[in-house]
Each structure stands twice: as C-alpha cells, then as structure tokens.
C-alpha cells in the first residue's frame, strides 16, 4: 500500500518528518471516456518537518484538498508514496461536529476512538476546551455555538486525536473576517504551545503568509509545486503587518501568473 502511517517510531532513529510526500501523483477516471483519466496532482514532493507550519496555497483546481485527503489516508495516490508520523488529524472548512453530541462529547468521542480510558476522558475534554478558550461550552449543543466557536471545538476535537500532524482544509474560509483574524491568533498560539506540525490549505494569500513558516504555491490542472517561500517574519504576526503585506503582494503576483497561463492556450 502506498499510503502508510508510520506509527511505531524506532528508539534510535527518530522520524525526521511529520509528513513525507514523495513523487505523489493522483488521477481520477473521467466519466464517459473509457480508460480516460484526469491528472489532478503531478509529481508532488514535499516534507513537513516536526513542529513546522506549512501552508499549501493555490487557486481552484490545484488539487490542494485532494492532496490533503491523500495525506489523511482517506484516499490513495495513483503513484508515489506518503508517510506520516502516526495518523494525522484533519479539520475541514465546515466544522463537521456531530450534532447528536454536545461539544464536550464530540471531543470525548475522539478520545474514546483513540483508546483513552473513560475516567480520564471528561477531564481531558475539559482541558482541550480550555486550550481553545471555551471552558463553559462542555454541555453546549453544536447549534447553540457560533461559527467561530464551532471551529474552535472542531480544533479541540482534532487536538484530542493527539496526532503529531494537523491537516487543515480551509478551516476559516467560511468565517467572517473579524472571527477569522481572532482564530489566526489562536491557531498560532496553540501551534506554539503544542509543538504540532501543521499542513494548512488555503486560497487566501494573506492568511497563508500570516500563519506559515513556509508557503508552498501549487499550480493548477494538474497541481504541481510552482514555488516555495520561507516566511521569516517573527510570530506573533498580524495580518495587517507591512512585512506580511509585502510578501503577499509578491506571492499574489506569482499566483496570478499561474492563473493567467490557463487563459492562454
């Protein structure tokens, strides 16, 4: 099998990556044309180091969500291999919280599926809610929470999986700008506190620069790695910082160039 979860770390040689994507391609069959297929991802090679925050940036059709699904193990690559340090946690654009459970029980379900014993679950769920600053929300139903609170519970649930790698698929895209800004600060804080590795997908250039240590730009149809930037601006950054704006302008130019290519034939 191509996608493997390296779950046992040997004593002497520690895993030196949180995710290792090697020459990964993915194509999907095209309906109506027998044997025909569309190449969505083409020869992607990317490492995410332990504790590193990487954003994948690209326009529509660059296959960034497909890549995230592959890393999450929800789908298999057509070629190449993906290795991760344990099973990654995945956060979606929609909160994906289960409406039949309270906020606290959603987190406890993740703990239970991970094998945490019952007496410890409640306490751990409370701790995680505290980490996303939702101390009083344990007994709240999903529909009683605002959009930003739901995403924070979803983040707490993802953290409950105790993965070394957190995959985020445009998790703040559906939020209003003020809430998104606050959640950027929260995510940065939690990333720094926990030492997690994060692979964050977005089409928002500013968001990518605001959050990441490394921004990876994907071209579209098929998705290829077009360019990479290392972001040296110290955290905590703000989305309106001039350094963030400068780099965003540069990346946006590059991104527009990539998009423009699709208009010409």
């Amino acid at each position: 099998m191509a996608a493997t979860f390296t779950s046992t770390v040997e004593d002497t040689t520690a895993v030196t990556y949180a995710a290792r994507i090697e020459h990964v391609s993915k194509s999907f069959p095209v309906r109506g044309t027998p044997g025909g297929s569309q190449l969505v991802l083409d020869d992607i090679t990317l490492d995410v180091a332990p504790g590193e925050f990487v954003t994948l940036l690209g326009a529509s059709g660059c296959g960034k969500s497909t890549l995230l699904n592959l890393v999450a193990g929800l789908d298999r690559p057509s070629a190449g291999s993906i290795g991760t340090d344990g099973r990654p946690a995945l956060m979606f654009q929609e909160h994906a919280l289960f409406p039949w459970l309270t906020a606290g029980k959603n987190i406890e379900l993740a703990l239970k599926l991970r094998g945490v014993a019952k007496p410890e679950r409640r306490q751990e769920a409370e701790r995680l809610l505290g980490l996303v600053r939702l101390e009083g929300a344990y007994g709240k139903r999903v529909h009683e929470l605002s959009g930003g609170m739901r995403q924070r519970v979803a983040l707490a649930r993802a953290l409950a999986q105790d993965s070394r790698l957190l995959l985020m698929d445009e998790p703040f895209a559906a939020l209003d700008a003020i809430t998104r800004d606050v959640l950027h600060d929260e995510l940065t804080r939690i990333w720094q506190e926990t030492g997690l590795s994060v692979l964050f997908v977005t089409h928002n250039v500013r968001e990518a620069v605001r959050l990441a240590q490394r921004v990876v730009l994907l071209s579209s149809r098929p998705g290829r790695i077009a360019r990479e930037w290392t972001v040296g601006i110290p955290q905590p950054r703000r989305i309106e910082d001039s350094a963030v704006a400068e780099l965003s302008v540069e990346i946006t130019e590059e991104l527009r160039g990539e998009i423009r290519r699709h208009g010409q034939h």
Partner: protein
C-alpha cells in the same frame, strides 16, 4: 468563488483599530466578546397556560365538535339505530366492558401482541437496514424488493400465514413482521443515505471504521430517518395485527380488538363495532403521543432542527 482572495477584505474589516500588538489576555477578551455576541439566545419553557391553549385546546375542541355533529345526526334520524348508534350507546358499551372487567383485557391482548411483534420487527429490521445501506451487493440484491414490500398491503399475508402457521399467535407475529420489517429497514436506509458524507469522513479520520463507525457515526447520524421508519413500522404493525385479528378468529387466540370488531359485526351490534374502532384508534394515537412524538421531538430539538414550538 473561482479564484483566489488576497486577504484585502480581511484587512479592511479586521481589527486595524486595535493598534498595538495584542497580548494574550486582549485576545481572550476579544474572543469572549465575539462568543457572547454570536451565541444563540435560548428561550425558557413555555408557561403552563400557553401550553394548554396551544396544545390541549385545539384537539379537545375538535373531539367535542365531532361528538356534537354525531349527536345531531342521531337526533335527526339520518340512519336507523342499528346503523348509527348514539354516542351514549357507545359510552354504555365502554361502561359495560369496564364493569365486567373485559375492557382492559381486549386492549392488552392486542397491545401486547402489537408491541412484542414490533420489538421483534425492530430486532430484525435494524440489522437488515444497516446491511442494505452499507453493503452494495445486499442493496442491489434486496433493496428494491424491500421498498416494494412496503406497498404490499400486509393483509395479503394473512391467508398464507394461516396456511403455513395455523390459527395461533405465531401467525399473528408473522403478519406483523412482514408488515413492519420493511418499513423499519427502509427508514434506516433512508436515514443512513441522508447522513452528510462529511460526518463519515470526519469519523474515519478519527479512526471510526467498521462496527465502531456504525455505532458512533452511522446509527446516531441516521436517527431522525430511523425514527420516522419506526413510527411507520409501528403503524404497519398495528394495522397488520388488526387485519389478522379480524380475519383469523379462534377461541384459542383470546379476544383482541380486531376480534371484538368482528364479534360486533356477527352480533349486529353497531355500538360494539364503534367501541372496537374507537379503541383501535385510541391505542394508535396513545402510542404515537406517548412514545414516538416525544422521542422525535427530543431528537430534533437536541440537534437544533426544531425551530417552532
């Protein structure tokens, strides 16, 4: 949105007015404010008086109106007594059955059969529905038959059941099962098909597969559809049972409500026929009101799907 968003909107709407770099406690404060502004205000329970006016008054009025019209029709002699008994005659029949101590016996004979049959149907229909919904081969093989069976009137099963099993309780249960199992299974299949795929993906990334997925994600996710199936399954159980009791009578079987109805016809006692119909209806309403409606409302409300009271 087709392409990208450079984040310029974020700068415009964002917290530019905040000035200096935010400290952690500032952030917590902003967040608490946002949470308070965005949260849904929950209303308390309705006062008793309002509940009485909104929930109890309308059905009581409707029943009173039916009784009045009925009595007026009797007074107007639109039909002879043996065709249309007066409400007081039917009430007399209730009173007699009560004083003789047989009333509860009639009801219990049928209700116990109905409930036991329903529980059996539940035990068979649930795994069946799960299999049909989750295993493509099984769905292709028996899915269409299962939904087709729903449109077959369960009374059609009475003659073969009598021939195969004889005039006894197992024949009654067989008819109930054939009526209710397809409803329950189909309800569960519909419920499972309506689970947002996102929930299944979220469950899988948390490690819920196989039976754990069925228990923690699929069954709770399908609960609203499943409950609708159970409700219909009960209605089918009850109807099939009444059909079976009316058609198949034997002294060994005891007198249930269906039998009571048939006896009324044989005795040309229209008030007894009315009594039986009245009791059959009453049981149906009572089960729905006491079991299914509260269950359904609880499920919908806890998921925020019930907006109006």
């Amino acid at each position: 949105m087709a392409s990208t968003d450079t984040g310029a909107d974020t700068e415009k709407d964002g917290a530019t007015a905040l000035g200096d770099r935010r400290t952690s406690s500032d952030l917590a404060g902003v967040e608490a404010g946002l949470d308070a502004l965005d949260s849904v205000q929950a209303g308390g329970p309705a006062p008793l008086r309002e509940t009485l006016i909104r929930k109890v008054l309308p059905p009581v009025t409707a029943v009173a109106l039916v009784l009045v019209v009925w009595q007026v029709l009797v007074w107007a002699h639109v039909a002879p007594d043996y065709k249309l008994p007066a409400p007081s005659d039917v009430w007399g029949e209730v009173h007699d059955a009560w004083t003789q101590g047989t009333l509860l016996g009639y009801i219990w004979t049928s209700v116990s059969r109905g409930l036991l049959g329903f529980l059996l149907a539940l035990a068979i229909g649930t795994p069946l529905g799960l299999l049909v919904a989750r295993v493509a081969f099984v769905r292709a093989a028996i899915g269409p038959i299962l939904s087709g069976l729903q449109s077959l009137p369960s009374v059609a099963w009475v003659p073969p059941a009598v021939i195969w099993l004889g005039l006894n309780d197992s024949m009654m249960y067989a008819v109930i099962l054939l009526g209710a199992v397809p409803s329950i299974a189909n309800g569960l299949v519909a419920g499972i098909d309506q689970i947002p795929p996102l929930f299944l993906r979220a469950g899988r990334t948390m490690g819920a597969t196989g039976l754990r997925e069925a228990r923690h994600i699929v069954m709770p996710g399908a609960l609203p559809g499943y409950l609708a199936g159970l409700k219909q399954g009960w209605a089918f159980s009850w109807r099939s049972l009444m059909a079976a009791e009316i058609i198949a009578s034997s002294p060994d079987l005891g007198v249930g409500l269906g039998q009571l109805l048939e006896n009324g016809r044989n005795n040309s006692s229209m008030s007894q026929v009315f009594l039986a119909i009245f009791l059959i209806l009453l049981v149906g309403i009572a089960i729905d009101l006491l079991i299914f409606s509260p269950l359904e409302r609880w499920v919908l409300r806890s998921r925020g799907l019930l907006v109006t009271r």
